[in-house]
Assembly symmetry: C2
Homo-oligomer: 382 residues x 2
C-alpha cells in the first residue's frame, strides 16, 4: 500500500508526532533576532523541566556522540583520572573519548547484561586518589541495561568531590533522572530518543559546581566549548548558527512533554516496558539483561539459538511493517532490540509484539501466536 508508514521501533530515531514533524517547516528566522530569543528561552525552560534542574542547559547542533564529546572535553584534561564502568558498546565509546582527551581511565568492567552497582564504585573511589570524574552510561543502548544505582553513585561522587558525567542519551524523558537531586554534573541526551524529536540535536545540563572545572579545562574543541555556550546564552542565542528546524521541533515536542507531565511520561514508558517483558516471557524468550537491570526504554531480547536475527527483522519490516534493531558489534546477531521510547503506547507495543510473534512463527520458531499479546493486554487493562 503506497503511503503506508512503518512503525519505527528502533532504539532511536523513533516515532515522532505529526505536529513535531510539521514544526520543522515553520519559516526560517534570524537566529540573532528577537523571535529566536523567545524560542530559545521557551525551549531552554522546558528542557530544564525535563532535566529537573535549576542550573544550565544547552542545545548543541550535533548527534548525541557530539554531546558526549562536549561533556568529556569540558572536564577532562590530559592526565586526569576518570572512572568508567564498561558494560556495553556505548560505555566502551565513553572510555575511548576519555582516552582521546589524554585522560587516565580507571575501568570498572561489568559483565554485559548487568549494570555497575554503587559498592563497586565506592571501592574504587576509596582506593584511588585524585579521581577527577566518574563517566557513566545511565542506560546502555547496546544491552538494554539501566544503572538503577545512579542516585547512590551520585551521592558517593558528591561526598568525594568527584564530578559525575552521565550519558543519558537513550533515557532522558523516558525514566527518572532529576539531575540536581541526584548530583549529576553534566548530563547528555539526544533529540531523537525519548524526547520524540528528529535526530540532529544533543542537549546537555551543567551543574553550578561544574563551571569551575570547565573554566580550568584546556584545549577544548572550540565547537563544544561550554564557556562559549554560557556566554551566548546571556543573549538567548547559540554561539554558532543553530539548526532552526530542529529547534522548532524540539520546542513542539517539549511543549507536548510538559503537557503530559514527566511523571505520567515515565509511568507510560514503564507500563509499555512491563508489557514487553511480560510478552517476552509468555513467548518463552529471554530478555538479555538480568531482571533488576532491565531498561524501560530499550528492550533487548536474546535471539534463541537457530533463529536468524536478520531474517526475523526483515520479515517484521517487510511483512508486518515494524522496524526493530539487531545488536551492536559483537552482539550484532545475538540481540534483537526494541525502542520503547517517546510516544510509545499500547498501540505500538501490541503491534510490535504481534509482528514479533508472527515473524518468529514464519521462521518456524515455536511460538504460541497471541500468547505475548494476551499478556501485554493484561498489563494495559487489568
Amino acid at each position: 500500500m503506497k503511503g503506508k508508514k512503518h512503525l519505527i521501533m528502533l532504539p532511536g530515531p523513533t516515532n515522532i508526532p505529526d505536529q513535531v514533524m510539521r514544526a520543522m517547516i515553520k519559516p526560517i528566522i534570524n537566529h540573532r533576532g528577537p523571535e529566536f530569543h523567545a524560542l530559545y528561552e521557551r525551549v531552554t525552560e522546558n528542557l530544564k523541566y525535563v532535566f529537573q534542574t535549576r542550573d544550565d542547559v544547552f542545545i548543541l547542533t550535533s548527534s548525541s556522540t557530539g554531546g558526549i564529546e562536549c561533556a568529556i572535553s569540558n572536564v577532562v584534561n590530559s592526565g586526569d583520572k576518570v572512572i568508567v564502568p564498561v558494560f556495553g558498546v556505548f560505555s566502551e565509546r565513553l572510555k575511548d573519548k576519555v582516552i582521546r582527551r589524554g585522560g587516565e581511565v580507571i575501568e570498572l568492567p561489568v559483565e554485559f547484561g548487568k549494570a555497575p552497582i554503587v559498592e563497586d564504585l565506592k571501592q574504587i573511589v576509596d582506593l584511588e586518589k585524585n579521581v577527577k570524574a566518574i563517566a557513566l552510561v545511565y542506560n546502555e543502548t547496546s544491552t538494554g541495561v539501566t544503572v538503577r544505582d545512579l542516585p547512590k553513585i551520585g551521592k558517593v561522587a558528591r561526598e568525594k568531590g568527584i564530578m559525575l558525567i552521565v550519558d543519558a542519551v537513550s533515557i532522558l524523558g523516558g525514566d527518572y533522572l532529576p539531575v540536581d537531586e541526584w548530583g549529576v554534573d553534566l548530563c547528555v541526551a539526544g533529540s531523537q530518543k525519548c524526547l520524540a524529536c528528529p535526530p540532529g540535536l544533543a542537549v546537555i545540563s551543567v551543574s553550578k559546581r561544574a563551571w569551575e572545572t570547565i573554566e580550568d579545562t584546556t584545549a577544548k574543541p572550540y565547537y563544544f566549548d561550554l564557556i562559549n555556550f554560557r556566554e551566548s546564552s546571556k543573549r538567548r542565542e547559540n554561539p554558532t548558527t543553530p539548526s532552526l528546524p530542529l529547534f522548532y521541533a524540539l520546542d513542539e515536542t517539549l511543549t507536548l512533554l510538559h503537557e503530559e507531565g514527566l511523571e505520567n511520561r515515565f509511568k507510560r514508558h514503564e507500563k509499555c516496558a512491563r508489557a514487553f517483558y511480560s510478552a517476552i516471557k509468555a513467548l518463552r524468550l529471554m530478555p538479555f539483561p538480568k531482571e533488576k537491570f532491565r531498561s524501560n526504554t530499550i528492550i533487548a531480547i536474546d535471539v534463541p539459538a537457530g533463529v536468524d536475527n536478520t531474517e526475523v527483522r526483515k520479515i517484521m519490516k517487510e511483512k508486518y511493517w515494524v522496524i526493530v534493531a539487531g545488536g551492536h558489534e559483537k552482539l550484532k546477531q545475538s540481540l534483537l532490540r526494541i525502542g520503547c521510547m517517546g510516544i510509545i503506547s499500547e498501540k505500538e507495543t501490541l503491534l510490535t509484539i504481534s509482528a514479533l510473534e508472527n515473524a518468529l512463527n514464519d521462521v518456524n520458531y515455536p511460538v504460541e501466536i497471541g500468547a505475548g499479546m494476551a499478556e501485554a493486554q493484561q498489563i494495559f487493562h487489568l
Copy 2:
C-alpha cells in the same frame, strides 16, 4: 497581514525553496538501513558535483563552525606551522582554531575590505620552512570579500607540498570553486548558505593526498575524526546518527542545483550581485570591499555617517518585510550585509533594493527613490 513571510536576505540562513522545506517531513527511516544507503549515495554524488571533485565528501551534523573545526583538527598537530591570512571575523576564528590545536600560526594580516593576494603568500612560503598548511577563508562573510587569487594560491601550495584548507562556508554553490582543479585539500561549507538548505549540516571535501596527513594527526576530537567518516562511508552511512530531516532537505536542494547546473547557478549569483553593486552606486552608497575583491554572495555596504544601522534594518524588516544583517563585532554598526545566495533572483534583488531605498528615505538620508531599482533592472533586462 497574518501568514506573510519575510524575505530572508541574511548572509545565511537564506530563503529556501518550499519543496526543500517539505522534504524535511518525510518519514523517519533507519539510518543503518538500505533506504538510507540509497539516500547517502545520491547526496554524496550530488555533493561531489558541487565541489567538482572525484575525491571524498562527507556530511557532518554540525554548524559550519563544526565543519571548520573538523578540517583543522584533522590536519594540525601541536607545533605545526599554519599560515592564516586574517582579513575579517571568520579568518580570525580560523586562526583561533589553529591556536587551540596547538598549531603555530604564521599570520598574514590584510586590511579589512581587501583580500590576501598570491604574492604575499608566496613571500611567506619562500621564507618559512616546514609549513604544514595554509588555512584560508575564501569568502569573508564579515566583510563581503572574496579571495580571487585562490586558484593561484592553490598552485603555490601544491608546488611546495603544503596542505590547503579552505573555509568556503558562504560561497560553495554560489561561485567558482573546483576543488580538485584548484588543489584544495579540505574544503568546508554549510548547508544554510548558497546551498539553500536549512541550517544544521556542514559539508567537507577531502583530497586524496590529505589522507596521509589525516592519518598522522593525533588527539582529534572523536566526533570530527575523518577516519571514522571514511570507514562508515564504505557502508554508505555516517559514523553517528545523522540529522535525517536535513539529509532529506540537502538531497532535495542538491537535486535542484544539479538540474539548474553549476555554471548557470554561478552566473545567476553574479548577475544579482552586479545588480546590487550597480544599485548601491546609483544610491551613492559605497560597498565596503575594494572593487576587485567584492563577493558575489555577500554584499557588504558601508553605512553612511549619520545613518543608524539598527534603525534602517528595523524599518526594512518591519515596514518592508526584508531582513538583512548588520556587521560583525567591530564592524557591527558600520556595515549592512545582504546575503546574495541560494535561490537569489531578480525578484529578491529588486525587493531588497526597494526596501533599502525606502528605509534610507524614512530615516531622512537623501536617496533618489527608484534610482537603485532602475540600475538593477537594467542589469537584468539589457
